[in-house]
């Protein structure tokens, strides 16, 4: 088990007029190798949940266990915890700080105790994993790179210390269509090559539908659904949770209303195939 969360609750501004229950009795287990999406409207508790996984927020009630580290202990080994988790916040490119790409990507591994040479090796490998050329970029300032490149350098900075779980907060926000596609392909290839367990927070339902095995929906701090994308996105009560459907699902449902019944697909490719099959059968008759 990679992450086991039991009955987790969290209150902001306790005993003030602004008291807010940000998380309310959350149970969540993430197994090794799973790709789990976390969705929900703004203010539903997604970010607070992520912060608990990396112990960036003090545990108030309930329990969190990450890669065998129990966060209810009086002094959990936080350094070890954070080496297990590669966490990318929203717009991670704003967190690049060093003068060269090399120094920036080496910062993580060095902090976790690697010697210079070892850290540089790790940085080189990580830059390769995100599809960039080490020799070409290592001496460049991160500030000169394009938006999509900066974000990849930020991911490399996390991959360099070889985490076991990747936690991504809105990984494609603000990217152009080409940048978005690159990022999704990158996450898919990272899952195959290095970090198999991925937790993604996103507002983009198309993205969640495309690469998550499981989706968890939060609403007002509570977990309301924990199921497969297929089952979730074909429910008819999603509007109650301020959630939109992926485009593909919207099209399939519109077609069904007009009497064209297709299988419950989630991706563009699958929809294309399903429609072509349907139309060919019709033509055959």
């Amino acid at each position: 088990m990679s992450i086991v969360i039991k009955n987790l609750s969290c209150k902001y501004g306790a005993k003030t007029p602004f008291e807010k229950l940000a998380l309310d009795g959350i149970d969540l287990t993430v197994r090794e190798g799973e790709s789990v999406g976390i969705i929900g409207a703004t203010g539903s508790g997604k970010s607070t949940l992520l912060q608990h996984i990396n112990a960036l927020i003090k545990l108030q009630s309930g329990s969190v266990e990450v890669c065998g580290i129990d966060l209810t202990e009086r002094k959990p080994d936080l350094k070890r915890l954070r080496k297990h988790i590669g966490m990318l916040f929203q717009y991670p490119e704003y967190q690049l700080f060093a003068e060269t790409v090399r120094e920036d990507v080496m910062f993580g591994p060095k902090n976790f105790g690697m010697k210079n040479e070892e850290a540089e090796d790790a940085a080189r490998t990580a830059i390769g994993l995100v599809g960039m050329d080490w020799e070409e970029v290592k001496e460049r300032s991160p500030l000169e790179l394009s938006g999509g490149q900066k974000r990849r350098v930020a991911i490399a900075g996390v991959l360099a210390y070889k985490p076991d779980i990747l936690v991504l907060d809105e990984p494609t926000a603000g990217l152009d269509p080409a940048g978005k596609k690159e990022m999704l392909d990158l996450i898919t290839s990272l899952r195959q090559k290095t970090v198999s367990t991925v937790l993604t927070v996103s507002h983009n339902m198309d993205e969640i539908a495309a690469y998550c095995d499981r989706v968890v929906v939060l609403a007002d701090g509570k977990k309301v659904f924990d199921t497969t994308p297929q089952e979730l996105f074909y429910r008819d009560d999603l509007e109650n949770f301020r959630l939109q459907k992926p485009h593909v699902v919207h099209i399939v449902e519109l077609l069904a209303q007009k009497g064209v019944v297709l299988p419950h697909v989630l991706t563009e490719e699958a929809l294309e195939d399903a429609l072509l099959t349907y139309l060919r059968e019709r033509r055959g008759k």
Binding site: A41, T42, P177, A178, M205, H247, L254, E268, E272, R282
Partner: protein, 288 residues
């Protein structure tokens, strides 16, 4: 309405006109040409969308349109006044309002109505008129109930609506939105788009929307496509999204309904370009 008669012909006046505009960023390593020889105009009440991948020069062009940047070559004029005229620059900026990407970087006051009043105050508008404009602007974006509140407690979408209202209070004729929905969640994005559509349709406000979301471009009157600093194509949504080569070359994306429609036409089922989900569904129903 800025309608004028010339030789007996009534024409709608261009609000904004850019002629052969180029802009180069200067640095130690030399010059980078970000905008190359661009000509465009925006007329009263138009809804224009500007598409292009990151780094193609969209934001630079936007900043040239209200004099935040001045062209290295060519001229940008607003109602005939060039943006290079230092005496008229504030007037020009009040006519061409701009809303940027990050909702947190665009508020100046801690009370919403003060924030809205900031623009007209700077233009020297009198007190009574200011409060009238504040009310009108907040009403237009559906945020009147929040006038005494603070912008910091609002959602992203609400903050962007406040940013739009503070531009509206200066009575602009064109609203330029530079990826103003990029940082918002789907609901916030919808709020802002609905507000912009409403202003365009009901108040006849011209809009230039810069975006990476192709579906935001579907209801535009005109789409401009930018690539390496140039406007390489101008056309209706059907023309732009019907041209698969253009979309590929400029690293854009077809909306999902167009993509599926295109695949169906490749297989001999369709002939028309389907822009929206509804159009695609209708086309499929007609086939079966």
């Amino acid at each position: 309405m800025h309608i004028f008669k010339k030789n007996g012909i009534i024409s709608i006046m261009k609000i904004l006109n850019a002629e052969n505009v180029s802009y180069a960023y200067k640095s130690e390593e030399g010059e980078t040409l970000a905008v190359r020889n661009v000509s465009l105009s925006i007329e009263q009440g138009e809804f224009v969308v500007l598409l292009g991948h990151n780094g193609c020069g969209k934001s630079t062009l936007a900043k040239l349109l209200n004099g935040l940047l001045l062209p290295t070559e060519g001229t940008v004029s607003v109602y005939g006044t060039p943006t290079t005229d230092p005496k008229k620059i504030y007037e020009i900026r009040s006519k061409v309002g701009m809303v940027f990407q990050n909702p947190d970087n665009q508020t100046v006051a801690s009370i919403i109505e003060d924030d809205i009043a900031f623009g007209p105050e700077n233009l020297g508008v009198n007190g009574e008129e200011i409060s009238r404009r504040v009310e009108e602007a907040l009403e237009a974006v559906g945020m009147l109930a929040y006038r005494k509140g603070t912008p910091f407690k609002l959602s992203g979408g609400q903050k962007q609506r406040i940013a739009i209202a503070s531009v509206l209070a200066m009575h602009p004729d064109v609203l330029i939105l530079d990826e103003s929905t990029a940082m918002l969640d789907p609901c916030g994005r919808q709020e802002v788009l609905d507000t912009v559509r409403h202003l365009n349709r009901e108040k006849n406000m011209a809009v230039l929307l810069i975006t990476h979301y192709m579906d935001e471009a579907l209801s535009a009157d005109r789409i401009l496509v930018m690539e390496q600093g140039e406007i390489v194509r101008m056309g209706s949504p059907k023309e732009i999204f019907g041209d698969i080569n253009l979309i590929k070359e400029c690293k854009l994306e077809l909306p999902i309904s167009c993509k599926i429609g295109y695949a169906l036409s490749q297989n001999g089922f369709l002939t028309d370009t389907c822009l929206t989900d509804e159009e695609l569904v209708e086309a499929v129903c007609r086939l079966s």
